[in-house]
Symmetry: D2
Subunit: 337 residues, 4 copies
């Protein structure tokens, strides 16, 4: 039994980690740390866990030793916190934005503040099993990419050599991505039914995509009417050889045997391209595409809290701890929903 | 031109008052008072008013004399505030819950605190034109009923003599009813798609219904997935003579000539009974019913911010100031939407 | 391995049966029958099953022998169909409305047509494990109750002796309850955001509630903005001894040890009473209540396609075939969603 | 009083034309033609028009002479229909896709069939008052652009000279755009919450944008969770001089004095960029932008049934008939909603 600790356990990513880890046959949740609710029942904050657990939140200083520590703490706070928690566990898997790029200058450019633990940056392996499975099996520090970055990386990576360097990514996200803290912008009456272009240019996840795909990626992001779910629509220019057959072959070769990537690119049907509506609770990332002359549109969808966060983290944990990679991640999603 | 002031102008009811009064050919908004945003443009808070007005919010102490003052300030705060504002206008129309019942004991029972201006309570005329049109034409103090109460009163009042005294009201409401202040309960990710029984028994609007219908009204309230809209489904027991024909006749007689009540009770069709989905922005209250043996179900729907608040207030203002009752209230609602 | 067949497999209940049975460690889906799509891949209709199965739909006459047959075929059609399919399996579990009441007169009253297989009616055991666990362990014919009936039965049954005979049930349902066939009434633009009182009196599920609770149950039903989910709010009059403590004790005693009923009746908190929003994909029925003097409000919520249909059927199958009752039904639901 | 006829009056665009024209002080609806519902009350199909009109639908052969005929009939059917109706009115305003491009080859490329009335194509003036006001004042044949094209044209046209020729348009639309006929794809349970990329490449509106802006426009289209509303996010490359100040100046100069275009491009705030959520029922098109180095993102939002259809048509009618351009189009939209 792998003993795990979760920091930031009262947030939405924290709750999703708890759901997956409590239902996981190979892990035991030893600590669920929350600065806001120490001593309270976990299911008072995450009501879907009623009858699943009697766990209480612990205060940060109660966090004891565990095999794997998962940090789902806020951006900017995590870089101060993680160095102090580093020794509590052999392996740390971070879900925040603070340890994703080895270059502190990139961090400062996109997050607006200097990085306070730059010495750790180079040690993290990206939590993308499809690209770094071997490295993850031995990694002690893992950084899970941002939800929109994860989708875009999986959509674009197979196209290397088939597209030009410039890619425009149109990302759409549900409201859970902005977290569990209430504010004017995520008040239901304001956010419901919105099509809110909250990042018309330069969404910070574009740096992650650029690094892991080698493309000149630009990302625009829009909040849509949904709680969960991310979709990216990536606009690229195909090279001369990039006809539909070549593109399909590239996706098939990239993802043959991948347990959590499905190619969804049918010629007809209501559900012929990836849609996050089908993926709530599931660890799948669906990827698809369309080709028209030299235009290539690559599309990916995932649940931002699962394959875009907690599920990816558990998949990495499984790899790192030598368990079957899909363990605890079997929920396929619902239809209709 | 009637000069009006709006207190609580930055809230959702306040914004709706501004929309209606700015578009009203017979009124001029002299003051839009907000304690939170004095000096800011009104359209920075109510973006639907862009290009409609250059008005700025004023601070409470800047409120000068006007013909009609509309107070859309919070429950419990209004009873302290209104006595100080009383002399700024000949007529005050209050949209809060603080002056709806002449009996301060009823207030204390439902609001949990003693009333601080009990001497004023008896002077208010209820802002229900369908019941108090003559009194409203001369009233200096008007209290608009709660949104769910307004719907239930219009659904039930025609049934006097046709039903027994006990009525169970099942009320449903969109999220705008809880106002523009963000909190954990109205965070989009929590509130979206909810069926939240926030008042399983004894919703405070039941007192208003009881008083204005003479029935023993009990109200349960549920928040549903919507921003605007209220619907009440009222369960009553019919007397021996209350067959469908008699019930229909009662509604027709009650509402013949009423400009803002429509009877919607068809035998077939998708839209055969009142649904607030059709009423966003409109001042209509749709009422309908079904009869099965001695069971009578009375249904009403309205937009909580219009006929359940700001629209009713403007209708009262029109009556009080001798203008055509429907002036500025012509928007019929959209379909589909 | 239990070999199962599913008739009506292309519908929404059929798809949910397939999801649960394909993910179930003790069952093998031998046949997925569809009259509309024979020969097509199951995942072309139920896209959430991509990468879960390569199963194809079979035509009705291809249905071979199996251990358990589950019929999720339409009301009125099933009573003609089931007698012909009866011999294909030792046990038949029907999810339609056609075999729920032993009295054919009740069927005719609520469904408007005479029953064509009245001789079978008395042989069915209701698919409510909480009430009929022992009988279900030996039943060869099982009839799963309607989704709203199931919720109301679980909400009300513990109150026997604590409430008077008359109960008004206010039921709310998502759009998946009306099935996978497109029509004017469930067109997205019409149905989205609706509060549609489609049964103001006498919803047919009231007969099921009456029979299994002994109450004089009346049911009103409203379509709300949701795809999945049912909630019932039941209004009853308490007897003299029915204070909050007595009511809570009754629920606790009724459901102690029940794996899929949770009591949700907290004094505070956003999620203090049952809400189907939390239950999509889960087999839980959450029940709760509030007491105010002699008013008792009992509330239940469930996923109409799971505990209100396919999940209840699988729970019955588990009981009938001697497997652990919770097998294949472990998904707890998501939050937020 | 201008006598108008509406063909296709039972569809969603037809209903919106009726709402606007019935509420318009200068027009009288003489005929509301429907092939499906002749003889039925208009408000039985468009329930928001209850108490607004007693009009009945007429059969196509009952269409008599009128001053202006508005055709909101389906694509592909209209090109056969319109030549026969041409003589019923001095001015015909077509809302279908059949007469938008003077080149029949463009029609065939995007609609897949040859045009059957190519001789008429050159005679239509595009129904875009912001670009063709003078021509519209004298036009006898007017073709209103597609909803997504209208938004993109207004977003991009001011950028002439400031951007390179290649533009990628990411368009999002509510479900009302696919019309009032039910089908598998717009069933509520399937369409609700969807992010459906129904045109990953080459949406047909791109041809209209290309023609009226001179740009090499490519359009991808996604159905989002909404009934009304269109938003376009246009990705362009700025020229050397295209800094934020220059871009803002270009928009201001283009739209100074335009009654129905608002520039919404604030530095902060929840509503800082165009969002169709605010525009339901309104004839505004909000346009905004962001600049980051050589990346320019231009954004526009409108109600597809109003400024993207019926409202634009009425605005053209006002111009053509010499009435104030804004007559009957004063509804500003709601907030919150």
């Amino acid at each position: 039994m792998i003993r795990v600790g979760v920091a930031g356990a009262a947030g939405y990513l924290g709750g999703e980690l708890l759901r997956l880890l409590i239902g996981h046959p190979g892990t035991e949740v030893a600590h669920a740390v929350s600065t806001r609710f120490p001593g309270r029942r976990v299911d008072s904050v995450h009501p879907n866990l009623r009858a699943q657990t009697d766990l209480l939140f612990s205060a940060p200083d109660e966090l004891g030793a565990c095999d794997v520590l998962l940090t789902a703490t806020p951006h900017k706070a995590t870089m101060s916190l993680l160095p102090h928690l580093r020794d509590r566990a052999k392996t740390v898997i971070d879900l925040s934005g603070d340890f994703r790029d080895p270059d502190p200058a990139v961090y400062e450019r996109y997050y607006g503040v200097p990085h306070t633990a730059p010495e750790l940056l180079g040690a993290f392996v990206p939590g993308v099993p499809e690209l770094f499975r071997a490295e993850l099996a031995e990694a002690d520090l893992i950084s899970v990419p941002g939800c929109m970055a994860a989708a875009a990386i999986l959509a674009l990576r197979p196209l290397t050599g088939l597209i030009g360097p410039d890619v425009q990514i149109d990302a759409r996200t549900g409201s859970s991505g902005s977290g569990a803290l209430a504010g004017d912008a995520n008040l239901h009456a304001e956010r419901s039914g919105a099509l809110r272009v909250f990042a018309p240019v330069r969404h910070r996840h574009e740096a992650e995509v650029a690094r892991l795909t080698g493309l000149n990626a630009r990302m625009t992001a829009t909040g849509v009417e949904a709680v969960r779910g991310v979709q990216v629509v990536c606009h690229a220019t195909g090279t001369a050889s990039a006809d539909e057959r070549a593109v399909r072959r590239a996706y098939r070769e990239s993802y043959a045997g991948e347990p959590f990537v499905r190619i969804v690119a049918h010629r007809a049907g209501t559900h012929r391209l990836p849609d996050p509506k089908l993926l709530s609770g599931s660890n799948y990332c669906d990827v698809g595409f369309a080709v028209d002359g030299d235009r290539i549109t690559a599309i990916a969808a995932l649940d931002n809290l699962v394959k875009g966060g907690a599920g990816a983290a558990v998949q990495c944990l499984n790899i790192r701890t030598g368990q079957p990679e899909t363990l605890g991640l079997g929920f396929p999603g619902l239809h209709p929903v």
